[in-house]
Amino acid sequence: MTNHAVLIPSKVAAKDIDAFVRPAISASALDNGNIFTLPQKTGVAGEGEVWLAASIPTAFTGATSGCVVWMAGEPELPFATAGDNVYRGLGNIQDFYISACTVFTAFKPMVGDIITLTADALDSSTTAAYAIASNTGNYKLLWSAAVANGFTLRYLKTTYIPQASGSAIGTGRITAYQFEVMIA
């Protein structure tokens, strides 16, 4: 089974500021820690405050200065599916993702935020000095040796998120990367 990204909002402005938190919906399944823009509200009846998540536009390659980037941060409730049935509360943290067309919580990363992400939120596990927005439609961050002209995270350290292994003795940690939001 594919692992999904795990996000720890270690210290984020959105925790205390309502304006940085929005309900959103995406036509694609997302992981926590995925990034996107919120260009407009859905306009669907009953979704008065729900915003439509869209991948970073192609025009913003490495230069998202005109693009307001948001991040998925839904409380994790792992689930298992069998056919059309969804069984909540089963599975592990790396099994969790946000199903397509499901309203979820998005927050606005702000300069100075400390965010911890696992490798599945990035294009690879090869670290670099920075992580910038990918414009390839996959909602992920890209490792980058240089600061982007827009949304940029500064790599702080490689750390871990505790999770019991269950399948090997002596393991039980998911490798994670801690970042500081440098340009929001």
Partner: protein
């Protein structure tokens, strides 16, 4: 040791546990006479005379016939054995009483041999075992200023859910109901043999999961949990690691009798007398404050007379913490006996199906010393 009858057997017995209590006593007597370990069993009859295993086996026969009559609703003494042996309900009763007798003792006997490193859990028929394994990590602590900050960086830890789905295991043996009902074959003896076959296979599965996990331990000199070659210092270092990462739980050393015999003090200036455990047991009971625990050897029936548990390893575990290996037993044993005239050759087969699965599911820490 007193065996507590499982709920499924008590339900089956419906208050009449005479047969099951006597079978448990017979089995304890049997394995005390056929093994190295002594179990609690009745040694004298009501008049104080010694009672043998053979006498108990004879005493079980009428009890089994009574139980067969009760279960089948057919008085098996009302007609000749050769007639009763063709009754379909009698065949069903014989097989399923044997199954229930096996279920009466099986979980307990498994726990005895593998208790230091395995947990046995009985689940319902057709179900999967679900284990919620907690992370053993602690949270990181940071220095801060003098109440100038409301919160430190948020940390979270997660449990892991692991499932274990029992697999079917089957035995089919030739049995003659006529010989059972006429007293020429001992159903008790037959049941014990089936029981020991299943017990051995299940123990092998549990041990294999354990040995495989221990073989995969990291060998890094500083952060590893596995070393090659016994020294008292290495043993103590590994025991310290296991204890420290298990919240201070007491570690013990596991191994076969042969493996444990390698544990000796670092200083060669030791002496032992004939009454010391090293002579009477074959190994020291305690080294550097760490107790030793002998794992019973398992016969490898596929390759006589080799044995299954490796004599080349010492394993250090903290049995008070989450057990390394989980084994789920899926429901009661199901069995059936073919009718006497179902086979063109008049072969009468009894089949037993038992579901179980063992696997490494843990967040505990353990260490290994390779003696080879």
């Amino acid at each position: 040791m007193t065996i507590k009858l499982p709920a499924s057997v008590l339900n089956f017995a419906a208050g009449d546990t005479v047969l099951f209590d006597n079978f448990v006593d017979y089995f304890n007597h049997y394995r005390s006479e056929n093994g190295t370990k002594q179990f609690a069993y009745i040694k004298t009859d009501k008049e104080g005379k010694p009672i043998s295993l053979a006498q108990k086996e004879e005493a079980l026969k009428p009890m089994l016939l009574r139980e067969i009559s009760k279960r089948s609703g057919v008085d098996v003494s009302s007609m000749p054995a050769e007639v009763m042996s063709t009754h379909p309900l009698v065949g069903w009763s014989v097989a399923n009483i044997a199954s229930q007798l096996i279920d009466a003792v099986l979980p307990s006997t498994m726990v005895e041999g593998t208790s230091a490193y395995a947990e046995i859990k009985t689940i319902g028929y057709g179900e999967a075992g679900i284990f919620d394994i907690k992370s053993r990590d602690l949270f990181a602590v940071t220095k801060v200023g003098k109440l100038g900050m409301r919160e430190a960086e948020l940390q979270k830890g997660y449990m892991k859910q692991v499932t274990l789905t029992p697999e079917g295991h089957m035995i089919t043996v030739g049995v003659s109901l006529f010989r059972v009902l006429s007293g020429q074959e001992s159903l008790a003896d037959f049941t014990v043999k089936a029981l020991r076959s299943i017990e051995t296979e299940m123990t092998k599965d549990i041990y294999t999961a354990f040995a495989t996990a221990m073989a995969a331990l990291d060998t890094d000199a500083t952060t590893g949990l596995k070393v090659t070659g016994y020294t008292q210092q290495d043993l103590t270092i590994l025991a310290q690691k296991v204890s420290a990462f298990s919240g201070g739980a007491k570690p013990i050393v596991l191994g076969t009798k042969v493996a444990l015999a390698n544990i000796l003090p670092e200083d060669p200036n030791y002496r032992y007398d004939l009454s010391s455990p090293f002579v009477t047991l074959g190994y020291v009971r305690t080294i550097a404050g760490i107790d030793t625990f002998e794992i019973p050897q398992i016969a490898n029936w596929e390759n006589p007379f080799s044995t299954y548990v490796s004599d080349s390893y010492l394993w250090i575990v903290a049995p008070g913490t989450d057990k390394l290996i989980k084994c789920v037993i899926g429901g009661a044993m199901v069995s059936h006996v073919a009718g006497q005239f179902d086979s063109a050759l008049l072969l009468q087969n009894a089949s037993f199906v038992k579901f179980w699965k063992a696997g490494l599911i843990t967040s505990s820490v353990a260490a290994s010393i390779d003696l080879s």
